[in-house]
Structures are given as structure tokens and as C-alpha cells.
């Protein structure tokens, strides 16, 4: 009872990375709290997924297997999650901040009248005392940038359970907890929770396209901000990326200005990346951007403004114009590489 629950997204028998990342995080929080981790696997043809969920730290896997449960539909999945949560009374519930998780989690929180914090960048356990003298032990600190990234807010749910949070893919690390770990499988009686009215929304067409642009796994990312100035100037970044074997990323400001596609956006509302080299061109370094790239192994900033905030997390800060610096980088890379 009062365990940590992780809703696991499963497509064609494959568990989403974000769900494994949440299991890893859930496991470490559970070890701190001395409770168990329970995974929810809702879909169809799920045999075998439990092994992977155990390996990443789950102690109990609830399997709700029914042909009608895949592809994902809001209402039947909500009914199952809400039903199980009412019985099991989790203290913490984690969801991926994906299009699925951001559709499901608010619905569940609304049904349970519990608080939900979106797009957390960090989850910690801590205590709280309020102004009325109430003391709370071991709350979930849900930490996220807010107000356009100008502040970092720590959100708590002192009185309501579960304490719910969503986290974007790539923000937490995924790590096998124990290769040989096993646990308990609980088969969910789907008909107990789901009614025919839950199928009022019907999917009549569905094409799953792989993301055309995927910068998440690129070892080198050349990223541009509003300071790059134009779509044309981004060509310089693409040229450097192609020479170095990397991908082009961007800040939200550059995407909003229409310089590049949204799929390239790095940061809190884009993707989180950890390349071995991140070159930030004309990016001032607002926290919602740096939240998505600060764990890069090496950061080089190119900026006209020697005092740009990005320079504070950079390993190298080049003061200058990208139109001047990038061609020189290309020239000297070509000259010196074998």
C-alpha cells in the first residue's frame, strides 16, 4: 500500500524509454521512502513486458490486457488507472509528459481531485511545514521551471494523494536496476473498470510516423537561438553540423520565429539532449533551454554578448559573430582532421 506507481507506455510490445526512465527514478525514490514500485501496463499482447519492467525496478506489475485497450484511448485507460489508484492508494504516481501522458494524467488527477505537476525536471523527497504549524514528512518535491523559465518552482501536494507528476522523455536517466530482478504480476480484471461508454471516441485512421528529425541521440548538436537572426543564417549551422557529423537544434525563440522546425527544439518544451558536444549559437541561455542541454559533456557558446547567461554553463565561450566564427571552425576542422 501507498507505493509509487508508474504508468508505462507500451507500443507494439515495446516499453517507451520515458517509462523506463520513470521506473529508474521511481525506484530510487522508493528506496529512499522504503516502499515498493508498481508498474501499470495497459494494452494488448503484453506477455513478456513484465520482465523488462522488473529489470528497471518494478516490484509489482499490473497487467491489463484487452484488445480494445490498444491503441490508447483516453477513457478506458483513465477508468483503469483511476480504479486501481482508488484501491491501491499510491502515494506517488508518475507519467511520461508525452502526448499520451499529458492526455491521461490530468484526467486522472481531476477524477481523484489530486494535484498534478507537469513537465518536472527534478523529483526529490523532502519535508514541509506550513504556516499553520502542520508538519509533513517525505513529500514529493516536484521541481520545474515556470513562468517562461524565469523561475524554478518547487511544487508540493501536502494533503492529496497520489502526488502526481509528469516528466518529459530524456529528462531522467534510465538504468537497469537488477538484471535478474523479478516480482509479482497482477492481472487486472478489465471488465471491472471499463464500460462500453468508455469507447465513445473511435480512432478511424492512424499513421504512426517515426519522427523525421530526431536530435535526441545525436552525439554533436549545433544549436541556434533567436540571435542567429534568420532562416538563411541557420544554413551555417547546418553546414557545421554536416561537417562535424551532428544535428541542428534550436531554442524555443528560434522555433517560434520560424527559423527551424519544432522537432529541433531543445529544452523544457522540446527535447532534452545530452550530446558529447553542444555548440550554442546566439542562444542567450534561458533556463527552459538550459534545462534541456546542461548535461551535455561539453558546451561551447558563440555569442556577441560576452555576458550572455549561457556562458556561465559553457566550457568555452567565444565572443563573436556566428557568421565569422562558424566558417573558421569549419576551415580549421578540415585543416586539422585526418
Amino acid at each position: 500500500m501507498n507505493n509509487i506507481f508508474v504508468y508505462c507506455e507500451i507500443e507494439k510490445g515495446k516499453v517507451a524509454d520515458v517509462s523506463l526512465e520513470l521506473l529508474t527514478k521511481g525506484r530510487s525514490l522508493a528506496n529512499q521512502l522504503g516502499c515498493s514500485v508498481e508498474a501499470l501496463a495497459i494494452g494488448h499482447e503484453l506477455s513478456g513486458v513484465e520482465a523488462e519492467l522488473f529489470r528497471y525496478g518494478a516490484d509489482i506489475v499490473h497487467i491489463a490486457d484487452d484488445a480494445r485497450l490498444t491503441p490508447y484511448l483516453t477513457l478506458p485507460h483513465t477508468s483503469i488507472v483511476v480504479g486501481i489508484f482508488k484501491e491501491e492508494q499510491p502515494q506517488i504516481a508518475l507519467f511520461g509528459a508525452t502526448t499520451l501522458g499529458r492526455d491521461l494524467a490530468p484526467r486522472v488527477s481531476s477524477a481523484l481531485k489530486s494535484g498534478l505537476t507537469a513537465d518536472c525536471t527534478s523529483l526529490e523527497i523532502g519535508d514541509h511545514s506550513d504556516t499553520k504549524g502542520n508538519e509533513y514528512k517525505n513529500l514529493l518535491y516536484q521541481i520545474r521551471p515556470a513562468f517562461g523559465g524565469n523561475i524554478i518552482a518547487t511544487i508540493i501536494n501536502p494533503d492529496c494523494r497520489p502526488q502526481m507528476a509528469t516528466v518529459r522523455e530524456g529528462v531522467m536517466r534510465k538504468e537497469v536496476y537488477e538484471y535478474a530482478k523479478t516480482g509479482e504480476v497482477k492481472q487486472v480484471d478489465v471488465s471491472k473498470y471499463v464500460s462500453d461508454t468508455d469507447f465513445v471516441v473511435q480512432i478511424i485512421e492512424r499513421h504512426i510516423e517515426e519522427r523525421k528529425i530526431d536530435i535526441k541521440d545525436a552525439p554533436i548538436i549545433i544549436s541556434g537561438g533567436y540571435g542567429v537572426g534568420s532562416k538563411e543564417n541557420f544554413n551555417l549551422l547546418f553546414e557545421l553540423a554536416s561537417v562535424l557529423g551532428g544535428e541542428v537544434g534550436a531554442s524555443r525563440a528560434a522555433v517560434d520565429a520560424g527559423f527551424v522546425d519544432h522537432a529541433r527544439q531543445v529544452g523544457q518544451t522540446g527535447v532534452t539532449v545530452r550530446p558529447k558536444l553542444y555548440i550554442a549559437c546566439g542562444i542567450s541561455g534561458q533556463v527552459q533551454h538550459t534545462a534541456g542541454m546542461q548535461e551535455s559533456a561539453m558546451i561551447i557558446s558563440i555569442n556577441n554578448d560576452p555576458n550572455a547567461p549561457i556562458n556561465q554553463i559553457a566550457d568555452y565561450a567565444i565572443t563573436g559573430d556566428i557568421a565569422d566564427v562558424i566558417p573558421k571552425m569549419i576551415k580549421y576542422y578540415k585543416k586539422n582532421s585526418k
Binding site: 491503441p71 483516453t74 502526448t99 499529458r102 492526455d103 491521461l104 490530468p106 484526467r107 488527477s109 481531476s110 481531485k113 489530486s114 494535484g115 507537469a118 516536484q142 521551471p145 515556470a146 513562468f147 523559465g149 524565469n150 523561475i151 518552482a153 518547487t154 511544487i155 508540493i156 501536494n157 492529496c160 471516441v201 473511435q202 480512432i203 485512421e205 492512424r206 499513421h207 504512426i208 519522427r211 524555443r252 517560434d256 519544432h262 518544451t269 558536444l277 534561458q286 560576452p306 547567461p309 556562458n311 556561465q312 554553463i313 566550457d315 568555452y316 565561450a317 567565444i318 565572443t319 563573436g320 566564427v325 573558421k328 571552425m329 580549421y332 576542422y333 586539422n336 582532421s337 585526418k338
Partner: protein, 292 residues
């Protein structure tokens, strides 16, 4: 076969967090709201456009904007009128203050019950919080189905609506019976500009509070003569909810701590855009196998 629809658009006036200037933060580290212009939340404009297109296709339909906020949020109801909506309701009451997404969705759902629409259309998320929670939370409170991440409402015939969704990995076309809550993505078409005729007709549309702030009775008389200029203002007593579910009291999430953004201090190696600096950097990166 089309039929007239009662549409409610949920919209929010937000500080323009995308254009944060140097004076946006006060010396004590709190946000200086006054320095940020208040705008129509961008994705709510995408939602408004979808509602207007639906009205164009289903003649006789009506659109009302429902928004919660301080008195100045009446501005976005006017912006709606200038583009072709029929009216709007401003939920404004000190008892709504301090609401998190759950308390906000509770207040909105109470107001929606009074309006009794066929369709609710909202932006996916607001730029001041980026949570994307209010749409689904309202749907749950009404016990209505939801379609999130909508890019286009394809058609609405009889009691059935067909919607194209844009997801991370592709697209989905779904169909559902009314009533329904739809939240619209930024990938949906941009909102049409103001219409000159509507601008002339509605430029003096005002809430009662706004009329009371005027020095003359001119506008009050005008609004009395032309009832379409009256923007409704509702407080907690108008929407018949449980008072402990509104505002701060009805908000399970609390803000424990707010930190002004501070970067980890780390000394960056400073370079200039000179040939020698760049060449030595590239050599270093090649030698330590970062590149190449």
C-alpha cells in the same frame, strides 16, 4: 447534414513570457508582471480559429469565450468579438484567486454547466504554465470525452464530430459523439485577423465593472441600448459550485519555493573570434576526441 452548434471556447489572458525583457524580474527575484504585456494565449487563438471555421460550416452556430481572470481579461473576449464570436463570459472573483489547474478547471466546469454547450474548444496549453492540464480536467469534471492535440476539426454532422490529432509520432483521426472537449495544438491554422465590421460593432463592448470605471454615463447608456455590448461577469455565486473547491482552497498543489534562476558557477574559457583562438580550439577538440 449540419446543425447549429453551441460552442464555448476556453481562453486565457497570459503574460507574454516569450518576450521577457531585462526588467521582467524585480530586484527581489519575483516576476514583475507589470513589465510583461498581457496577450491572448497563442494556442487559444488556434482554438478560436477552429471554432470560427466550425461556425462557418454550421450556419446558425454560436461561439462564446469563457475566461477566468482579473477585470482586464475582458480584453480577450473583445478580441473574440472582433473576429466573429457572439459573446463571452468573464469569470472574475477574488475567491477564484490562487487557483491551480484543478481549481481552475472546477470553476470553468461549473460555468460550462450553466452555458450548456455542445462543444468546448480550448488551446492545448497556456504559455505561462505550459501544463496542458485544464482541458482534460474540465472534460473529466463534466464527464465528457476529450480529444487533445487537435490540429483540425474535419467536420461536424448530426451529433458526430471528426477531428485530426497531431501526436509525437504521427497523426490520428478520431470520431466522437457530442458533447466533447477538444484542445487545439499550435500546429493548427493561425487565427484570422480582426474583422473591420465586427471591430466597429463591438469596440465599446464592456463588462459592468469596466462601465463603472468610466467617468461618463455615455457608455453605460450605449450598452443599455445595445445589449450585445454587455460582456457578462460571473463570480462564485453565479456558477453555483462548492466554495471550498475554488481558488487557493480548492488547489491541492502548493508552491513550496520559488527560486530565481541561478546558473551553476563554472568558469568558461574565454575565446575570441580570431583565427588562432578558433584553430587551437578545433585542434583541442580533435585531440580529445570530442569531434572527428
Amino acid at each position: 447534414m449540419t446543425k447549429p452548434l453551441k460552442i464555448v471556447v476556453l481562453a486565457k489572458q497570459v503574460p507574454d513570457t516569450r518576450n521577457v525583457g531585462k526588467d521582467a524580474m524585480k530586484a527581489d527575484g519575483t516576476v514583475n508582471r507589470a513589465a510583461l504585456p498581457a496577450i491572448f494565449n497563442p494556442e487559444d487563438l488556434n482554438a478560436l480559429e477552429q471554432s470560427l471555421r466550425l461556425k462557418d460550416k454550421n450556419p446558425g452556430s454560436t461561439i462564446h469565450i469563457l475566461t477566468m481572470g482579473p477585470g482586464r481579461a475582458a480584453e480577450i473576449i473583445r478580441e473574440g468579438l472582433f473576429r466573429g464570436t457572439n459573446g463571452g463570459i468573464l469569470l472574475t472573483d477574488r475567491k477564484f484567486a490562487g487557483a491551480d489547474t484543478l481549481a481552475t478547471s472546477y470553476a470553468l466546469s461549473c460555468a460550462v454547466r450553466k452555458l450548456d454547450p455542445d462543444i468546448i474548444i480550448a488551446g492545448r496549453q497556456a504559455i505561462d504554465g505550459d501544463t496542458a492540464q485544464v482541458g482534460p480536467q474540465v472534460a473529466e469534471k463534466l464527464d465528457w470525452p476529450q480529444v487533445t492535440y487537435a490540429e483540425e476539426i474535419l467536420e461536424c454532422t448530426g451529433d458526430k464530430i471528426t477531428v485530426k490529432r497531431r501526436l509525437e509520432h504521427g497523426v490520428e483521426v478520431v470520431t466522437c459523439a457530442l458533447p466533447i472537449v477538444i484542445t487545439v495544438n499550435t500546429s493548427a491554422p493561425e487565427c484570422r485577423p480582426r474583422n473591420a465590421k465586427f471591430l466597429m460593432k463591438y469596440k465599446h463592448a464592456k463588462t459592468m465593472s469596466e462601465l463603472q470605471e468610466q467617468d461618463t454615463d455615455y457608455y453605460a447608456n450605449l450598452v443599455n441600448d445595445r445589449c450585445y455590448l454587455r460582456i457578462a461577469e460571473w463570480g462564485v455565486t453565479d456558477i453555483e459550485g462548492e466554495e471550498n473547491q475554488f481558488g487557493l482552497k480548492g488547489s491541492p498543489t502548493k508552491v513550496k519555493k520559488i527560486e530565481n534562476v541561478v546558473f551553476h558557477a563554472k568558469e568558461a574559457k574565454r575565446l575570441q573570434a580570431t583565427d588562432s583562438d578558433i584553430e587551437s580550439l578545433m585542434k583541442e577538440l580533435i585531440e580529445n576526441h570530442t569531434i572527428g
